[in-house]
Subunit: 199 residues, 2 copies
DNA sequence: GTCTATAACTAGATAGAC
DNA sequence: GTCTATCTAGTTATAGAC
């Protein structure tokens, strides 16, 4: 499978990264408050006290997951927008990347979406600010499509929300061993998105 | 406001109903595991121990919320299907009722969707079975639209999910004091839904 | 960097007086 | 049907040995 010269040494994954992955799975399955540090530690092959050598506490784990996820989403979206030359191309790129990300990284995406209430106000605000910027990016592309292509949009904000939440929800039912791949689903969703906008 | 001869006696609301409403608000804000019986009791004007005169425990509160919500959704959907005479009418009725319900009852709808993991396996299965029936109802209407109207649907299951999750998400951003009413939003969403299906 | 032990606290649920 | 008091268990986080 490996193409490069680098050995497939999975143990190279840092302890910090492994803890985040395990915490993500637990927060996804049982929620932030339903997960204990003991359970996370056990799945990492250590005791609860040892986790505090890597993170200051449970809340920092959630913050890192949510913050990293949002940052990755914005990065991908900005790339998609930069690569498109027309509003249609940019929107298709946005939808494709959003659907693919929420399918491939469905655990962390759902945790980042649903568990924000468990963060302190300050940390919550940091994550929400990134998310607001993301939504504005989508709204701008839709607004461009209206003025340049005459897209039929009853309300930019509502349609942007409808579009994004439809794509976000892919993460709630997508399964890695399911009937369709993330790419196939992204194809269907880009078509649905364009159908929602055609005059 | 009251039209009938019955007095507007809000205290007629039973203690059981009030407890459920308060619990719904808390489960929505902080999640099931993030909510304590003491908090629910305080908002009901009683002490934690008193709650157990009305419900056997915390989990029963969540089960009642989730089960009642799903039952109401299925009822509304069945009515919408029965009242339509064509697949297009039935689908529009389904979308309208689904959007309206998730806007008007957004707290309980979100709790019923997001907190199922906290239920025992048996109780979870009860709720999921109702939800499965609901989804099949939508898939059938879409299948009818394909054969009778030639709707353009790449994949019935995927499009049914896309449609339903898009409408469900209205509950995550709808606000009672927002710019648009639940009915106005339902109008926009029925149009979006039909646009997604047109050949 | 992991362990054991423990501090300090909070949870759901119950018993029995009123 | 509500109260107070309490039980039992489990929580995050820390301290200090190794």
């Amino acid at each position: 499978m490996e193409k490069g010269g680098r050995p497939a040494d999975n143990s190279a994954e840092s302890t910090e990264t492994r803890i985040l992955k395990v915490a993500t799975r637990h927060f996804y399955d049982r929620g932030y408050h339903g997960t204990t540090m003991r359970e996370i530690a056990a799945d990492c092959g250590m005791k609860a006290g040892s986790l505090y050598n890597h993170y200051t506490g449970k809340e920092e784990l959630l913050f890192r997951i949510a913050n990293d996820t949002m940052a990755e989403l914005v990065d991908g979206a900005q790339t998609a927008v930069d690569q498109g030359t027309t509003p249609a191309q940019r929107l298709q790129g946005l939808v494709r990347q959003h659907v693919r990300y929420h399918a491939v990284n469905r655990l962390q995406a759902k945790v980042a979406d649903d568990q924000l209430h468990a963060l302190s106000q300050d940390r919550q605000a940091v994550v929400l600010k990134i998310r607001d910027g993301y939504e504005r990016l989508v709204e701008e592309v839709i607004a461009d499509g209206i003025s340049e292509h005459g897209w039929a949009v009853a309300d930019v904000k509502i349609v942007a929300f409808a579009l994004l939440t439809m794509c976000t929800a892919v993460g709630t039912w997508f399964r890695e061993d399911g009937r369709l791949s993330a790419d196939q689903i992204a194809d269907i969703y880009t078509d649905l998105a364009m159908a929602m906008l055609q005059p």
